[in-house]
Amino acid sequence: MLKLEQRPEPSRLWTYLTPPLAVAVTMIAGGALFALLGKNPVEAIATIFWEPLFGEFAFYYGPQLLVKGAPLILIAIGLSLGFRAGIWNIGAEGQYIVGAITGAGAGLAFYPADLWVVFPVMVVAGAAGGWAWAMIPALLKVRFGTNEILVSLMLVYVAEQLLAAMSLGLLKNPDGFGFPGSRNLQQYAPAHNAELVAGTGMHWGVVAALIAVIFAYVLLNRHVLGYHIRLTGQAPRAARFAGVRPKRLVLFCLGTSGALAGLAGMFEVSGPAGQISIDFNVGYGFTAIIVAFLGRLHPVGILLAGLLMALTYIGGEIAQSNLGLPAAAIQVFQGMLLFFLLAVDLFTNFRIRVIRPETA
């Protein structure tokens, strides 16, 4: 008979082992799914994971890795702070949208002035927009004890409607022949988040993501606030005795994750996306939840997980055009990854013992 025995503390070995194991299991299950869809599983998996990095067109897809990975990492870093403390910000997608709207709005307000100050102002506005959107669930939780999961999620749907209203109304391109969507920021040089080094995909969002990783690492390992976050997650009662003020922690964690998500949205709209449009958001805010867990809520882990998830996005697109694999199949694949990760996590916290039934 098998029996689960709780480990006194989580196994270090398994903590590192579970993400690669989950990826491996997902590849097998995903391959089975692709086979069910009538595709060659080995070819499909190879297309997703090999082609973007080492294939014929790697020079094109390589930079995309940074472009797609940066927003995921930026958002996931913010989420991980809250997740560690048991504060669940599920509405990063909404904060991402609002950050893009405020960032783009600030930039367009200067149009067509040619000032160096435009882009810095947009960065601040984007972060502030995301922060303010996240402050709604934060303040409601602190003041009224409202569930932050549901409020932050409801605000995603509100933000999506706001995005539609903005691209049809206030931010609509006056020279756009009536089409929905704002002016293209790529054509407005002071507001354009251009590639810093041509052909690398490196833009300011990537820089911000790397800074966020370092910042989070220092915060969690070297700063008392990071210690309080970890303590609250592991032992909320002990944290309160240690003088942690839970309300301030809620405000900090939700605020930071909102600001980072807002930044991600702002860098996206001013760079790769170029304009505010009805279908601007593509679910980075939700995928970032998977990235945060896959990275074990650790900054360096999130960096790696973000790149891996970006790989599945790019590889998914290649598989879509080369093999006719449906886009939704990649979404299922990403969902599976989180499933398997949570399942194999059992080994981190529990030991499986084989016991013989005792005879009386």
Binding site: I136, N147, I149, M154, Q161, G169, A328, A329, M336
Partner: protein, 306 residues
């Protein structure tokens, strides 16, 4: 703008229809949460139910078969959640989110061949004499079977929780799983059954959207209904009767804003479409003052050591 074009009778009648999907899903989640499990995967199970039901109804030509398939689809998906949280002892919040993300992808994948098709119509239950009563007739007695199934389910769950032994066991497991375990109740078994029931209800709710309320299939068509259902359970203080009231409230807001859109109110459509979500937040704020009603073991992992 023409507010006179909004007929109160039609408004109340369509309120019953708009309330049904969230009512079904919320009732399922109510049972799950009363057993002490927080399943945030309602949205994923609803959308999976929506496509399972739609596909089955289109293939067989029978909406009834569609609803059966939807309940099964939702239950099968919830089995994944049950496995994760009850067997692998994973975090319930994370597992629920995983279920939603997975369900959204899976439904999009399954629904590829079904975009733009019309499902077979579900017959309306025109109750002879009662349906002819002016005003009350169209509001109460002119609906499809699922509206009454939702109301019946609400009454059944209320009675089950209040008067039966099974309800007592379920509540015991939810309030204090260690005590329930010590008394010899099978905590994990009760919870798995509750989760399956919740999945089936969410599936039915989703199928109601794709088969009757809309009726067609589009990706992500539940548009947060599952999350509203979750909010509804909090709003209802974990009581079946209040779930019904809440569902009518949200149904009313949804229908009213749709009517205002149609009547051409000077507010842009997007801002009106926000209203159900904003009302949900508002109601959550009002209700969160009273947290005493939440089941004692809600969201906690149960691991029998003895």
């Amino acid at each position: 703008m023409d507010l006179a074009s909004i007929s109160p009778v039609l408004l109340l009648a369509s309120l019953m229809v708009a309330a049904t999907p969230i009512l079904l899903a919320a009732l399922g989640e109510l049972v799950v949460e009363r057993s002490g499990v927080l399943n945030l995967g309602v949205e994923g199970m609803m959308i999976t139910g929506a496509i399972c039901g739609f596909a089955a109804a289109v293939e067989t030509g029978s909406p009834f078969a569609g609803f059966i398939a939807a309940a099964l689809g939702g239950a099968v998906l919830s089995l994944l959640f049950a496995g994760l949280t009850q067997v692998a002892l994973a975090n319930q919040v994370a597992s629920g989110l995983a279920l939603t993300l997975f369900g959204l992808g899976l439904s999009a994948l399954m629904g590829q061949g079904y975009v733009g098709i019309k499902p077979p119509p579900t017959p309306r239950l025109d109750i002879p004499v009662l349906g002819d009563i002016p005003i009350l007739g169209p509001i109460l007695f002119g609906h499809d079977v699922m509206v009454y199934a939702g109301l019946g389910l609400c009454a059944a769950i209320w009675a089950m929780l209040k008067y039966t032994r099974a309800g007592l066991v379920l509540r015991a497991v939810g309030e204090n799983h260690d005590a329930a375990h010590a008394l010899g109740y099978k905590v994990v078994r009760v919870r798995v059954m509750a989760i399956l029931f919740g999945g089936a209800c969410a599936g039915l709710g989703g199928a109601y959207i794709s088969l009757i309320r809309v009726p067609q299939w589009t990706e992500g068509m539940t548009a947060g209904a599952g999350w509203i259902a979750l909010a509804l359970v909090v709003f209802a203080s974990w009581k079946a009767g209040r779930v019904l009231l809440g569902a009518w409230l949200f149904g009313g807001v949804t229908v009213l804003q749709l009517n205002l859109q149609a009547a051409g109110v000077a507010i842009p459509v997007e801002y009106l479409s926000m209203s159900p979500y904003l009302i949900t937040i508002l109601v959550l704020v009002i209700m969160s003052a009273d947290r005493s009603r939440a089941p004692g073991s809600l969201g906690r992992i149960f691991h029998a050591t003895g």
